[in-house]
């Protein structure tokens, strides 16, 4: 924890999500903590089932009733989020924090024009009249790079391409000038040339003071869109730090594995190395460190003792018993005495 900064905009401390199911309780998110300062950017990275989306939904109060959210502290701009009543949530979500998802088509109403849906934000939250709201919608569409916005106002969502729909979603999310935007896989469904446009747009907004949480499985997208990164595996944080420090010298074997498995379209090609095995089933996690069955440096201790997230260097945290070894890149004795295959 850095003591030099002012109170963070978003504080997530000891977040747990439990879901009751027929086969018992599963815990897709376990003891997750992070903070985000005003105007800063953070990426939550992980593969499917890592709990990264669940974490953001819990923060936004958007999980269904079957999910139990517990947290030591869940705070936005100093105000406690846990136990917030529905009307307060709605107020907060529209005006202070906003979210965009991977699939913009499912988040837009197909029966209403895009212009109506954007203008509705202003009418509902600001109480503006029809023509003023429409004018604001046109300006907003122009700002997010939708060509010919006055004409496109009357179009329905299906008449927009995927990239343009995502711009509409961003326009709606930014309409009320929120202080925090949570973007869950915002470019995953888009072509690369369109993805580059959307990432540029998010970056520009971030420079203008918007705090940004990007959730992604793509380490390349993260490199382009966030200053800090937290890495999730099987529901827990395994590493956190500045992107510019974590990427060149990861402090957790999983992060190192992800980086080595990511193909590079540019720069030095290098050879891609897969991570052995499969991500675990969260209802039947391995004992000890959840990553140990796939870990190239796992040892006896890893199979019995669960590593805690701890500070391993200034501004760096890792949940690995041998984080220092990973960080310094000292040669490791591969799998000595560990029961893995």
């Amino acid at each position: 924890m850095t003591a030099t900064e002012e109170a963070p905009l978003l504080t997530v401390s000891g977040l747990n999500v439990a879901i009751e199911g027929a086969a018992g309780t599963v815990q897709p998110v376990r003891d997750v903590s992070f903070t985000l300062a005003q105007g800063d950017s953070l990426a939550i990275v992980g593969e499917s089932g890592s709990g990264k989306s669940m974490t953001s939904l819990a923060v936004l109060g958007l999980l269904p009733e079957q999910a139990t959210v517990r947290a030591e502290d869940l705070r936005f701009d100093g105000a406690e989020l846990t136990g917030l009543a529905d009307p307060d949530w709605q107020q907060l979500r529209g005006e202070q924090l906003a979210m965009i998802f991977q699939d913009p088509l499912s988040a837009l109403n197909p029966a209403l024009t895009v212009g109506y849906q954007i203008a509705e934000m202003f009418r509902r939250h600001r109480g503006w009249g029809r023509s003023r709201a429409r004018q604001a919608a046109v300006e907003l569409m122009a700002q997010v790079g939708i060509p010919d916005p006055a004409a496109r106002l009357r179009d329905y969502p299906h008449q927009f391409s995927g990239g343009m729909r995502q711009r509409v979603m961003i326009a709606m999310a930014l309409a009320l000038e929120p202080r925090l935007l949570i973007a869950d896989e915002p470019t995953t469904a888009l072509d690369v040339t369109v993805q580059a446009q959307i990432l540029r747009l998010l970056r520009q907004r971030q420079r203008d003071g918007l705090a940004l949480v990007v959730i992604s499985h793509d380490l390349g997208v993260v490199a382009r869109s966030a200053r800090r990164v937290v890495v999730m595996y099987a529901g827990t944080l395994v590493e956190s730090g500045l992107v510019a420090e974590v990427y060149p010298a990861p402090a957790h074997p999983y992060t190192a594995g992800l980086l080595a498995a990511s193909p590079r379209a540019r720069g030095t090609a290098g050879s891609v190395r897969p991570i052995d095995g499969q991500p675990p089933d969260i209802s039947a996690l391995p004992a000890g460190c959840a990553f140990h069955p796939r870990c190239p440096i796992a040892r006896e201790r890893c199979t019995v003792e669960r590593p805690k997230l701890r500070v391993v260097a200034p501004g760096r945290e890792s949940a690995c018993h041998f984080a220092e070894e990973v960080l310094t890149g000292e040669p490791t004795k591969r799998g000595t005495g560990a029961a893995h295959g």
Partner: protein, 333 residues
């Protein structure tokens, strides 16, 4: 290295293929030439990557190669034989020679069949391949070959993870001993750690069996890992083609340059990362492509000539083929 036969496994010549759409209230039919004159060759034992964004026609091309779609004009030759002129036996042979692996193994594997049944299914159509009495052993061998536990032949698709399901799809394709496997976004839906496993498996199988791959993808990072040769497709046409080395080191078409520049890389956190080329606007609709060069509406080099004169795919003084009036012999690096 495998010995190369004279005939390439796959050759398309001026292939035009597409589909019909209804337009407007009257439902007037319009032809969309999703593939508009493509020449593509895949030789034995090599991996050719077809790269392009959505709507470029790469999947339509795949469908016309396997015979799921009849070409409007031009030819598709598989192992030297024109696929439009095959008799029944010839069509069976085509299906044996060319197999497909799709993006979503959940959708392409019948959930009611076990892994073993899925793998053995092709032998119902091609009974001569494996004797009845050897089939169980052959299923076990194929499962092991793709890195799955042979004891899991009795499990159903939902009992496997996404990566394992894709391994089943590959085993199923291998079962009929094809010469070419078309992988249509075969690793796009997989997590990055698993994606790398599947790419390694495909490379290893190629080494062992000499299979050729036509690998269709939008992911330029993946292409770089596996391609011998690359064809970049844009709105139904190949705009640049060459060896992987040529395409990645010296991209000559502005669209290829834009694609490479746009692809996110894990190195993009560095201070020397610059945005590079960010194209404006959307890809035009394949139903109504621009005149002349189809990329000109988004191209920063476009001149009036590009609207009237279609650039042919040609060497243009350089090492590989490119379809741009302004392509230079080489790009200084």
């Amino acid at each position: 290295m495998n010995q190369r036969s004279e005939e390439p496994v796959l050759r398309t010549a001026d292939l035009v293929a597409g589909y019909q759409v209804r337009r407007g209230l009257l439902g007037r039919r319009a032809e969309v030439a999703a593939v508009a004159g493509v020449n593509l060759t895949v030789r034995e034992g090599e991996t050719v990557c077809l790269v392009g964004e959505s709507g470029c026609g790469k999947s339509t091309l795949a469908r016309s190669v396997v015979g799921l779609l009849r070409p409007r004009s031009g030819t598709v030759l598989v192992a030297g034989k024109d696929t439009a002129k095959l008799d029944r036996a010839g069509r069976l042979e085509l299906r044996k020679n060319v197999q497909m692996v799709f993006q979503d193994p959940f959708a392409s594997l019948n959930p009611r069949m076990t892994a073993g049944e899925l793998i053995a299914e092709g032998w119902r159509v091609h009974p001569g391949l494996v004797a009845e009495s050897d089939r169980q052993a052959e299923v076990a061998r194929l499962l092991a070959q793709v890195g799955l536990n042979p004891k899991h032949a009795g499990r159903y698709p939902h009992q496997f993870s996404g990566g394992q399901r894709q391994r089943i799809s590959i085993a199923r394709a291998l079962a009929v001993r094809p010469r070419l496997i078309i992988c249509d976004e075969a690793v796009s839906a997989l997590d990055v750690s698993i994606q790398a496993q599947i790419l390694a498996l495909l490379a290893q199988l190629q080494e062992e069996l000499g299979i050729a791959y036509l690998f269709i993808t939008h992911d330029l990072g993946v292409v770089r890992q596996i391609a011998d040769r690359v064809a970049v497709m844009h709105l139904g046409q190949i705009v640049e083609t060459g060896t992987a080395e040529e395409i990645y080191q010296q991209p000559r078409h502005p669209y290829t340059q834009a694609l490479l520049s746009a692809a996110p890389s894990v190195d993009d956190w560095t201070d020397d990362y610059t945005e590079g080329i960010v194209l404006q606007g959307d890809t035009p609709s394949p139903a109504d492509p621009p005149s002349g060069c189809r990329f000109r509406t988004r191209c920063w080099l476009a001149e009036p000539r590009c609207a009237t004169e279609t650039p042919e795919l040609a060497e243009r003084g350089g090492p590989h083929l490119v379809a741009c009036h302004f392509a230079r012999p080489t790009v200084p690096t």
